[in-house]
Structures are given as structure tokens and as C-alpha cells.
Symmetry: C2
Subunit: 132 residues, 2 copies
DNA sequence: TTATAAATGTTATATTATTACATACTGTTA
DNA sequence: TAACAGTATGTAATAATATAACATTTATAA
């Protein structure tokens, strides 16, 4: 059962915007879009983004410096994330595959490191772009 | 067998610096370090980095905006990369695990996407930092 | 209530990366 | 050799991404 996070005003404005977007959003594009709601400075955006990532409501696509809403109802924190990214149309989806997540969550090697988090990004061509 | 790439002057200067570094290097730190060798502008650094990534001599650690030399003699291109990152000391190593790479290279799901590349970053505490 | 943590507002600045344009070098082929 | 194509370089300006520092306000809980 998922802990309910009561988002603050700025967090809610920014989450709603990202959640409605069909594509990953960049911080300054978010800023531009929420200026009419009174959020005027980059730091206000980055603070909300940091918190939303921390509680797993959004994830950062590291290779794109962009943010998407969590598409798995189960991500309470952003600690085990996998995405597919089309290099042609830049469509991004969160991969929800229990075998993959089990495999990676249980991964260990001889380095002696204790892994507590991972982020995986797959790149390729989506169905649409392949057939062009 | 690995194709021999004849690095250009700037590419060689920058690769040698990264290769000697025990930690991932950031672009502007690289710039600072190669100024005595005549490389004066960010673009000169970024161009060499782009090429070195393309041919697999270095990889970008996306979550850190930093670059490390390939630690696998086999990476001809940066298309199947996995790293372990200590969140305490920021030590980064390239993971070379054939089971993992096979698993990920063969991964496919029902989305219809054809994956041609991936990048995986594991986070946690290294041996040293765990025992502190 | 009092204390504490979390969130906000604001300005300035740091860090990372690209655009645009001119020039030079390297290897191939007519 | 000459012409060409592809790759690399040099330089200036600027765009895009992210954080520091400090003051204030709001929410939560002892
Ligand atoms: Zn998620
Ligand atoms: Zn596509
Ligand atoms: Zn490698
Ligand atoms: Zn460590």
C-alpha cells in the first residue's frame, strides 16, 4: 500500500503539468509553463522536482535531463527504474517488467558493493519509427 | 579484434588525461587540465569527448555528467554499458559481467521496440564506505 | 504554545553544453 | 598532382541546466 504524500502547492502544480504531458519535460520548459501560476524562478522548479523524484512521483531521464511522471503505481521512491527511449521520436516509456526488476534488484557481483538503487535506460527505435 | 582508432591530437590529449584519472572527470575540469597543452575552449573538449564516446574509448556517467575511460577492452562503441557508483565516495567502476550484458542485450518486451543500446547505473555503498 | 521541519520567495551565480562560422589537415581518387 | 570529401581544429558568443545564499512563511507535532 502506497503512502499518500500530500503535495505542497508548488509540487502539485508541477506534478500535474508533468503528469499531463505525453513526453518528458525539461526543467526550463516546466518553468515557462508554470509562470502564469506564480512560479517564477528555476529554484522553485528544481526544489519541487527534487522532492517529486525523492517520493517516486516522477523520475529523471538522465540521458535527456528531463522528467516524466511515474507510470508504475508502485514506485514509492525512484530506486529501481527502467526506461525505453526512442532515439528517433524521443518517446520515453517506463518499463514495468517484474523479471527485469527482480533480476536487477538482486544483482550482485564480486566487487563487494551493496547496491540499493539502479537506473536503466534502453535506446532504440519504437514501433512507429522502425516502420518509416 | 578491436579496430585501431588513430586518435587526433586533441582526442589523444583528452583521452590520456581521463585514462590516468582514478575518478570520472567533468568536462570543465578536463578543460582546466589541458589548457597548458593549448586546448582553450569548451567546444574543443566536447568535440573530443563526443568522438571518444562514439568509439567506446570513454563512457559518460549520465547521472554525474562525467566521463571515464573504458575499463573493458571490448567496448568498441558505447552501446552496452553498466556502472557501479558509490554514493558516498563517488567511486565509479565499469561492470563487466557477461551474464548481465547478455541478459540486457537480449532483453525485449511487448512494446514492439527494438533495443540497440542500453546504459545501466547501479548505486550503493562501496566496500570501504560500508564499513565506516 | 513552542519548537521543528518543510516549503517558499528572490537574487545572483555556477556549471554544463551548443550554435555559428572560418580554417586546416588527412586520405582517396581522377 | 589536383581535386575532393571527410574529419578535425580554432574562436567567440550564447544557450541550457543547476545550485548557493539568505530571508521568510507554512505545516506538523510535542
Ligand atoms: Zn516509476
Ligand atoms: Zn519513435
Ligand atoms: Zn567500456
Ligand atoms: Zn565509497
Amino acid at each position: 500500500m502506497q503512502k499518500e504524500h500530500n503535495l505542497s502547492k508548488n509540487q502539485k502544480i508541477i506534478f500535474d503539468l508533468i503528469d499531463k504531458s505525453r513526453e518528458p519535460m525539461k526543467a526550463y520548459s516546466i518553468l515557462f509553463n508554470v509562470q502564469k501560476k506564480g512560479i517564477k524562478a528555476p529554484l522553485q522548479v528544481y526544489r519541487a522536482l527534487d522532492k517529486l523524484v525523492e517520493i517516486g512521483k516522477i523520475h529523471k531521464i538522465e540521458s535527456r535531463n528531463a522528467f516524466i511522471a511515474c507510470q508504475n503505481s508502485s514506485c514509492q521512491v525512484s530506486k529501481a527504474t527502467a526506461f525505453s527511449i526512442c532515439e528517433s521520436c524521443e518517446n520515453v516509456s517506463e518499463i514495468s517488467n517484474s523479471k527485469l526488476s527482480k533480476y536487477l534488484s538482486n544483482f550482485s557481483d564480486s566487487s563487494g558493493m551493496k547496491y540499493s538503487k539502479y537506473n536503466l535506460e534502453f535506446f532504440g527505435l519504437c514501433k512507429k519509427c522502425k516502420s518509416k
